[in-house]
């Protein structure tokens, strides 16, 4: 239980902090942090239940993109402000780092396996981001067809 609270606090601070690094408008820092926190908690919980890491990343990215869409609608700000800070925790930094390290240590077999995993994870994030755009387009089409 304590673990979850630490993760919630850490992911909120990390996402909002990234908002500061990218000079996001002050009023959008808290929504940025919330989007990042919810995405990360979904990822973390799925990982606790031993869901595959690629699937967990994809689901979390889908959640992040839906939440960003909602935030950008409500606050009338470009969606990119929210997706960037939300997606950052899901970027496979750790795996990429391990791949790089194995390359340096001349263990090419492990390094290439890890690189392939990085590619898959990046693909998962891409699918997640695409998802919100598809929903957005469908919504727009539905609104247009209504009289």
């Amino acid at each position: 239980m304590f673990d979850i609270i630490v993760q919630l606090a850490a992911s909120f601070i990390a996402s909002a902090g990234f908002g500061v690094l990218f000079n996001a408008p002050k009023k959008s820092l808290i929504p940025c942090g919330l989007v990042g926190m919810l995405g990360w908690i979904l990822f973390y919980t799925l990982r606790e239940f031993h869901v595959d890491i690629v699937a967990a990343t994809t689901f979390a990215a889908i959640l992040v993109s839906i939440l960003s869409q909602v935030c950008s609608r409500i606050l009338k700000r470009p969606i990119i402000i929210f997706t960037v800070s939300g997606i950052i925790p899901l970027v496979p930094g750790g795996v990429a780092y391990n791949a790089m390290r194995n390359f340096v240590e001349n263990d090419y077999n492990t390094a290439i396996q890890l690189s392939a995993q990085v590619m898959l994870l990046a693909g998962g994030i891409a699918i997640g981001l695409m998802f919100s755009q598809v929903i957005n387009q469908i919504m727009m089409k539905l609104q247009k067809t209504k009289p």
Partner: protein, 250 residues
């Protein structure tokens, strides 16, 4: 239209330039330029944006205007402001002069977070990420220290050197160095977790997401070039860390 010097294409190009230089997605840039032009009664505006340059013409048989983008940074606040201004222009049909002046002032003075606050944010981000990626509390402070040193070095060298990737390389090698020293002195539980956390403020998050969004929107040229940009940054960070590993076989 009191003065002939301010024209629709000038406003469109300026708005596009500010957005591109702040790291907006190219499809958003083109969309904004088209909307502004349409609100001034241009029926068939043609805009084409890439990472390094902008084209705009009022019609496809008119002569086309070109603007070169040399400096790129990440500034979500400016993107947001241009976005708001373009909504205003579309809604209220601002006079050309006013719109141009608003864009000019917007380009120069947008509030930014102070440098010390940015470094503080980078410090907290590093520590929090090392906790999130499976580090223990023992890794928290070393990660904070390495992250703040790495980020400040990157900012410092980015101002001195023209080549961005070199600044990132130097920043990440300082991270590796600090983390290795902390670890050898007995602080921190695992060197890996310290480095992974501390490297996060340098990770090219905006180019990665932009690359994906541009590719999905069908802007293949910008998407691929942004992807290459973020790949180069990732390689620079990795090489910086790898160099430290070469010197200190921890």
């Amino acid at each position: 239209m009191s003065k002939q010097s301010v024209t629709v294409e000038k406003i469109c190009l300026l708005a596009g330039k500010i957005m591109l230089a702040s790291g907006a997605e190219t499809y958003r840039v083109e969309d904004t330029m088209d909307r502004i032009a349409q609100s001034y009664g241009v029926e068939n505006p043609q805009s084409y944006a890439t990472l390094t340059g902008l084209h705009f013409s009022l019609d496809y048989t008119e002569s086309s205007y070109f603007l070169r983008i040399t400096k790129r940074a990440t500034d979500l606040h400016k993107i947001d402001d241009v976005n708001q201004l373009s909504r205003e222009i579309v809604a209220y049909q601002l006079p050309l002069e006013t719109a141009y002046h608003k864009l000019k002032t917007l380009e120069k003075n947008v509030p930014t977070f102070s440098l010390s606050f940015q470094v503080l944010a980078a410090t907290l981000v590093s520590g929090c990420f090392s906790l999130m990626f499976g580090g223990t509390w023992a890794d928290f402070l070393p990660a904070c220290l390495a992250g703040s040193i790495g980020y400040s070095t990157m900012i410092l060298f980015d101002k001195m050197i023209e080549i961005r990737f070199l600044a990132e390389f130097i920043g990440s090698s300082f991270i590796g160095l600090t983390a290795a020293i902390c670890f050898l002195l007995g602080f921190g539980g695992s060197l890996e977790m310290i480095i992974i956390g501390a490297v996060m403020p340098l990770v090219p998050g905006l180019p990665i997401t932009n690359a994906i969004r541009d590719l999905m929107a069908g802007h293949l040229v910008s998407g691929v070039s942004k992807g290459i940009e973020s790949l180069l940054t990732a390689v620079a960070i990795g090489a910086g860390i790898a160099m430290v590993y070469g010197f200190f076989p921890v």
